[in-house]
């Protein structure tokens, strides 16, 4: 199974352990939910934009994709700047906007879960995060074969330089 799906399942398992989940499990569930979506999108980027020969090329390309660039592409999908409007035409679907919003949320939550040592996570918040990631996966299946998905994935890689 793909890494992204494994991470998503892992997040669900950690967040729903019997009894009261420990703080460390809630933190790791939050992180796994984010990375599930991050790796799903990375996988789509390299599959569409990077040749398979040599095999190491896709691995190297995947490592080059940055969290900040992906966040910015998501911000731009939610509120397209001029550089994207001309490509997107009629706009974006609710599903793609939901994916973008979930990514931004999950990245912020993951950052807090991994670095804010004073944070005390609530189970309801973490279950909501996992559900958001799961919904993003489902939404992606609906839009992945579309021009807007192609634009979104290209924006992750090229968006910062599209002003030129």
């Amino acid at each position: 199974m793909a890494l992204s799906r494994d991470l998503l399942r892992h997040a669900r398992q950690l967040a729903t352990r019997r009894g009261r989940p420990s703080q460390i499990n809630l933190r790791r569930a939050t992180s796994a939910a984010y990375y599930a979506l991050f790796h799903l999108l990375i996988g789509e980027v390299v599959e569409r934009m990077v040749p398979t020969d040599p095999p190491e090329l896709r691995v190297r390309a995947a490592r080059a994709i940055q969290h900040g660039d992906m966040k910015q592409a998501c911000v731009d999908i939610g509120n397209p700047p001029k550089k994207l409007q001309s490509l997107l035409g009629a706009g974006t679907s609710p599903e793609l906007r939901a994916i973008a919003k979930s990514f931004i949320d999950l990245q912020e939550e993951r950052h807090a879960a991994d670095y804010n040592v004073a944070l005390r996570l609530s189970q309801s918040a973490v279950l909501n995060s996992v559900a958001k990631a799961e919904a993003a996966f489902a939404h992606w299946e609906l839009v992945r074969v579309s021009a807007e998905a192609n634009i979104f994935l290209a924006a992750i890689v090229f968006g910062a330089r599209w002003n030129r």
Binding site: G68, K71, V75, G78, N79, A98, K101, I104, D105, Q107, E108, H111, A112, Y115, S122, Q123, S124, A125, L127, N128, A131, K132, A135
Partner: protein, 79 residues
Amino acid sequence: MAAAIARIAPPKGVRLRRIYFDTDHSGDPSVYIVYAVSKSLGLGPARIRSLGILQSQVTEVVDALHLDRLSYVRFEDVK
């Protein structure tokens, strides 16, 4: 903005706790809307779905205000 958010009826056992402005982890101007969630009503799938719906409603309201800030909805458990 607070009035617009307060007009959104949260699910049973959920109440608006606070709203504050800050920057997020990457320095983008943001608004945080925090809800208290009573655990006494359980955390089953339907309840978590209702939190997701609330989050979408709040995001929609904040986006419509064009604050030029990212919005983050947070849930904190209370006994």
